[in-house]
């Protein structure tokens, strides 16, 4: 269990985010839940690529011309997948916040129940 502690935390974080996205009534809280879900996934990738006792994936000046042992360096592939994911995550977070802002413009609330109630009233 202790050897897979990172995955346990990852699953808990992901489920926490999923729960927040389903159960929370406030839209901003849902967005925070989405961000937590995202960090859970990033944690999964990064901790899979981590190697115990390894160095960061930037070659030292003295190591560049020696034959390179791959086990000495952390996995760069999982890192770059997640690096772009973070910046894109912020951009999509901005888009989500914009949608929340538009909803607030129309209904003056972030609460899901009140929004549904107002939509129902408009249709009647």
């Amino acid at each position: 269990m202790i050897l897979k502690f990172n995955y346990v935390i990852m699953i808990i974080l992901m489920m926490l985010g999923l729960w927040a996205m389903i159960a929370k009534k406030n839209i901003i809280k849902k967005l925070i839940g989405m961000a937590i879900f995202q960090t859970g996934i990033i944690l999964f990738y990064i901790s899979m690529g981590a190697k115990s006792g390894s160095n960061i994936p930037i070659l030292d000046y003295y190591d560049r011309y020696k034959p390179i042992d791959a086990a000495q360096y952390a996995n760069p592939l999982t890192q770059i997948l997640m690096l772009t994911a973070i910046v894109v995550g912020v951009a999509t977070l901005g888009l989500g916040l914009t949608l929340a802002r538009k909803i607030y413009d129309d209904y003056k609330t972030f609460n899901e129940d009140e929004i549904l109630q107002e939509i129902k009233n408009e249709h009647d």
């Binding site: 160095n55 930037i58 030292d60 413009d105 003056k108």
Partner: protein
């Protein structure tokens, strides 16, 4: 000697755990921002300490500089927020802020 820096960073994290108590309990938002600000500054220190533990300080210092330069922007934004909304405690926000409902948008 590197061992000492490892223990120092563990001590820093334990002290951060103490600050988390203030984040959870803190009666007003500003109390929480204070604790978060301290955690942010200590992250800079921890990154430099990790650089020493990894023995690649020159690579980690860049991240720490980025943190040091940007760390106060979030606090500044929060402070600006409270220039408009004066309530800093989270109790009974309904009374002050919710009065604007339906006043600006005509439908």
């Amino acid at each position: 000697m590197i061992n000492i820096f490892t223990w120092a960073s563990i001590l820093l994290i334990v002290l951060m755990l103490m600050l988390v108590y203030r984040i959870i309990v803190g009666p007003t938002v500003i109390d929480r921002i204070v604790a978060v600000n301290v955690i942010g500054t200590k992250s800079i220190v921890l990154i430099v300490l990790m650089g020493i533990i990894f023995d690649r300080l020159a690579m980690f210092v860049d991240i720490a500089i980025g943190y040091g330069l940007l760390n106060f922007i979030a606090s500044l934004a929060a402070a600006k927020y409270f220039k408009k909304h004066h309530r800093i405690d989270s109790k009974n926000i309904t009374a002050t802020e919710h009065t604007a409902k339906g006043a600006t948008n005509g439908h």
